[in-house]
């Protein structure tokens, strides 16, 4: 098969679920925030917190230093809350959930029925602005693990939420983080009690369905002393010719000896091959290694979204804490990605590792932007950064913008980056063995990404590998 015959495969998850919605009044205003807070039955402190963020939002400006530029977003032309009508009365069990919703998730390959499920993964499914269902709650309860929608946690565990919400990403952070603090709708809350190893992977599946809606979810994960949790996040959206905004905040807190592993497979609708439509994925993700010997590891596979703009970061406060960042960012057609990480070393003997793989094809632009900052008190700290870019064709771009700061004589920072194209010899070798062009590219790209794919939990790894191949279909030749 000649590579020219290849066709661009349509976005598999681009269907819409036809379902009646309850929406907040259009536009960003105090009323909208009050509406969200009321429909979620929130206590007063939560509303005050949101309003404080909203007031702050009025005085700050949208950042504009990033590489991918986008048309101005009309924040008054968006719905900030949209939920299936059937979710209004909070179904008690899965039997009461609208079959249409269950069908949607089945279609996405996320069965919510526990018997049918892959064993070992608990799922929180978020549909537009509400959490539809959370599975395996009973089993987790036995261990004292809290895994629930954040709106539920605000009511049931207000002390924990009050203590940690906004402690990693303050409401005074940048524009989109503040916007999220003002209007966040749902997301997951995880608390792992001391000395507990979470027996299964926790997972949240985000789905944008309604049009003209922004999704603003908020995730908060707290790993108490000596605990361990692995958390997965997946996302899809229907195909539309409009751009939709997704501005999430994710906060992680790891106390003494705790470890959090956070994996993302981001597959929002990337727009069609002429760059029409797609999600603006402007996400703030930050983890704080507060305790000694704590560890936070971010793994991300970014294949979707028209524009991806995010920097999952680690603040290494505790002595001997470890931060890791593994990333694959694939951009095709007119997609744009500006992603990377920040590793802030504050404690002694802190270590961080960054492995970033960027692949650009078509007319896409892919930027790695990262910061490694070693404070003057972070004795014997260590960082290793590797960012590799792969270019396919000469209409796309690959950029690397690392910021490296070292203020300590006993610390070592190493950074390397390379940019190259797929080796002709390797392609030829594969072709010779009977693989067609597409298969050969997929094989080589998967090899290029291997270091990162290895970090993903089993359930995700296979999926991600397929996604890598699909995202690049039609880019060769």
């Amino acid at each position: 098969m000649k590579s020219g015959e290849l066709k661009y495969q349509d976005y598999k998850y681009g269907f819409t679920t036809d379902i009646e919605n309850i929406k907040a009044p259009k536009g960003l205003s105090e009323e909208t925030i009050k509406f969200i807070s009321k429909i979620k039955n929130e206590p007063k402190w939560m509303l005050d917190w949101r309003l404080k963020a909203f007031n702050r939002l009025k005085v700050i400006k949208e950042p504009n230093w990033q590489k991918p530029k986008y048309p101005k977003i009309d924040y008054q032309d968006l719905y900030y809350y949209s939920a299936p009508k059937s979710m209004k009365d909070k179904p008690k069990s899965l039997d009461e959930v609208d079959p249409k919703l269950i069908e949607t998730y089945n279609k996405l390959g996320i069965p919510l029925n526990e018997q049918k499920k892959l064993s070992g993964v608990a799922v929180d499914a978020v549909f537009d602005s509400v959490s539809v269902a959370t599975t395996f709650k009973g089993e987790l309860d036995k261990k004292g693990i809290i895994f629930c929608p954040i709106s539920e946690a605000i009511q049931k565990h207000p002390d924990l939420v009050r203590k940690y919400l906004g402690s990693v990403i303050p409401i005074t952070d940048h524009y989109f983080a503040t916007l999220n603090s003002a209007v966040f709708t749902d997301g997951s809350f995880v608390y792992i009690p001391p000395n507990t190893r979470c027996p299964m992977e926790l997972s949240t599946y985000f789905r944008i369905n309604a049009s003209e809606t922004g999704q603003f979810e908020r995730t908060l994960i707290i790993a108490d002393k000596g605990s361990y949790v692995s958390y997965l996040e997946g996302c899809t959206a229907p195909m539309r010719d409009e751009n939709q905004l997704h501005a999430a905040n994710v906060e992680l807190v790891a106390l003494d000896d705790a470890e959090i592993k956070y994996s993302t497979v981001q597959n929002w609708y990337p727009g069609d091959k002429d760059g029409v439509g797609g999600i603006y994925n402007f996400v703030t993700k930050r983890g704080a290694c507060r305790g000694k010997n704590s560890k936070i590891s971010w793994t991300q596979v970014e294949t979707g979204s028209a524009i991806t703009w995010k920097y999952p970061s680690c603040i290494l406060q505790g002595d001997n804490s470890v931060g890791e960042f593994y990333s694959i960012a694939i951009t095709n057609n007119y997609q744009k990605a500006d992603t990377g990480t920040k590793m802030i070393h504050l404690g002694k003997n802190t270590k961080s590792k960054i492995i970033s793989k960027g692949i650009s094809a078509g007319k896409a632009d892919n930027t790695y932007r990262g910061l490694v900052d070693i404070n003057s008190k972070a004795f014997n700290s260590r960082n290793y950064t590797q960012c590799d870019s792969l270019l396919m064709g000469n209409k796309c771009g690959a950029h690397t913008v690392p910021y490296i700061k070292n203020k300590n004589s006993s610390s070592t920072v190493e950074h390397e980056a390379t940019t190259s194209k797929i080796n002709e010899d390797q392609l030829f070798y594969c072709n010779q063995r009977g693989l067609n062009q597409e298969e050969a590219v997929s094989l080589i790209v998967n090899g290029f990404c291997k270091e990162v794919l290895q970090q993903l939990p089993m359930e995700f790894a296979v999926e991600a590998q397929k996604l890598v191949s699909i995202s690049l279909e039609g880019s060769v030749g």
């Binding site: 690392p402 070292n406 004589s409 610390s411 190493e414």
Partner: protein, 413 residues
């Protein structure tokens, strides 16, 4: 901003009314923007405004170019020379060269500098620059000996600003080695230089800058240039011992097979700040650029490297490399780097590496077991670390001279 400066434009003699108006306009633009600070992406790691405000008061423009002292010439190798006093061309001697082929003159007109970037410091320079020198090498002439530029700064420069602009032009098939040698009378001043470099087809320009002794001066230099087919540009920055120094280089490799090398080896002592910012534009296929920046940081010194490689979509087969290495010897010292790549062509080899850390303890131990004292061992290793920069220099005498100067600087730490 206006309190920091006490500029008197009337003292500058202008060739025309238009020039006087241009100066006024540029000065206004500068006052409007002020000195750059960290909000400016290209000054990400340095608050220049703060540094100047802290160290200067009522900065005046300099008008004194008197020169009565005999300058001590370098005797290590034969050379031509140019003497600049406080940035302006004083005299020159090119007795080793064919005088019809090498043209050196005073640069007065500022019209040649229209293409420079519109940065704050460029406005300031346009407003106050009194010129500088211009070197032009005529076609098919290879200079026999290097030209040393003795950059002399007098003692009465305290709290003054020097603005100058230079031009270096190499016509087709020529060769020139320029050594900028700074001699300083230890006064605290500010210098703002803009320089353009033009290297035509098959030409080679080697540029070396080095410092005679420590200086209290604050230096800013902007070099922008273009290179023709099969041309070669090499810049060695070895100016250790300056209180503040920032060199910005923007080179455009406009035609095929051109090469650009930027090398720097610096050892920084107490209160010193050195910054190198580069941008190499690969605009044609088959070009090569190579940057190697090495810093040794003592006490509370500050070393910065911001490099950018830009590869245009047509510039296939580009080979570009950036390497920055820092030895941090004190917890008060700081090294910041931003090695950037912006690439739009796929068949390229572009990479960068950056490391910073302490001196290799095993190597020190090894030397000490051979009976070498700790401080000696350290100096030996630093020397080796920095000397690598001009390892490939072909002129043996210049190389020896540089080695000697570097050694002197290390001993001065």
């Amino acid at each position: 901003m206006e309190e920091l400066f006490n500029i008197d434009l009337d003292k500058i003699s202008n060739s025309s009314n238009k020039e006087a108006l241009d100066r006024k306009k540029n000065l206004e633009l500068f006052f409007k923007k002020g000195l750059p600070n960290k909000k400016d992406e290209s000054w990400k790691f340095t608050d220049f405004s703060l540094i100047i405000n802290k160290n200067f008061k009522k900065i005046k423009n300099n008008h004194d170019f008197s020169f009565d002292e005999k300058i001590e010439l370098i005797r290590d190798f034969d050379h031509n020379f140019i003497i600049l006093v406080n940035g302006l061309l004083n005299s020159f001697d090119i007795s080793f060269e064919d005088k019809s082929k090498v043209n050196i003159e005073k640069l007065n007109s500022l019209d040649d500098f229209k293409n420079q970037s519109s940065s704050n410091l460029n406005y300031l320079n346009k407003a106050l620059s009194l010129g500088g020198f211009k070197i032009e090498i005529k076609e098919n002439y290879k200079c026999k000996k290097p030209i040393i530029i003795y950059n002399y700064y007098s003692a009465n420069l305290e709290n003054k600003i020097i603005n100058n602009s230079n031009k270096i032009k190499l016509n087709q098939n020529t060769e020139l080695t320029l050594i900028e040698y700074n001699v300083d009378e230890n006064s605290k001043f500010l210098k703002n230089t803009f320089e353009t470099v033009e290297i035509a087809k098959d030409s080679v320009l080697k540029s070396i800058s080095i410092q005679k002794s420590k200086s209290k001066g604050y230096f800013y230099k902007n070099i922008s240039g273009s290179q023709g087919y099969n041309s070669n540009y090499q810049n060695y920055i070895l100016t250790s011992g300056l209180r503040f120094n920032r060199v910005e280089i923007e080179m455009s490799l406009e035609k095929e097979n051109s090469n650009c090398f930027i090398m720097s080896g610096l050892s920084l002592g107490e209160g010193e700040h050195q910054e190198i910012k580069t941008r190499i534009n690969h605009l044609a296929p088959n070009c090569k650029s190579y940057q190697k920046i090495k810093n040794v940081l003592e006490k509370d010194s500050n070393g910065i490297y911001q490099g950018k490689i830009y590869v245009k979509d047509v510039a296939q087969k580009t080979d570009a490399y950036q390497l920055s290495k820092a030895l941090i010897l004190d917890d008060l010292a700081e090294f910041n780097a931003k090695p950037e790549l912006e690439i739009y062509a796929d068949d390229v080899k572009c990479s960068h590496g950056s490391t910073s850390g302490s001196i290799d303890k095993d190597a020190v131990h090894y030397l000490m077991t051979r009976g070498i004292q700790f401080t000696e061992a350290k100096k030996l290793l630093i020397n080796g670390f920095l000397n690598e920069i001009f390892e490939n220099m072909s002129e043996q005498k210049i190389k020896t001279f540089l080695e000697k100067s570097i050694e002197g600087q290390i001993n001065g730490i």
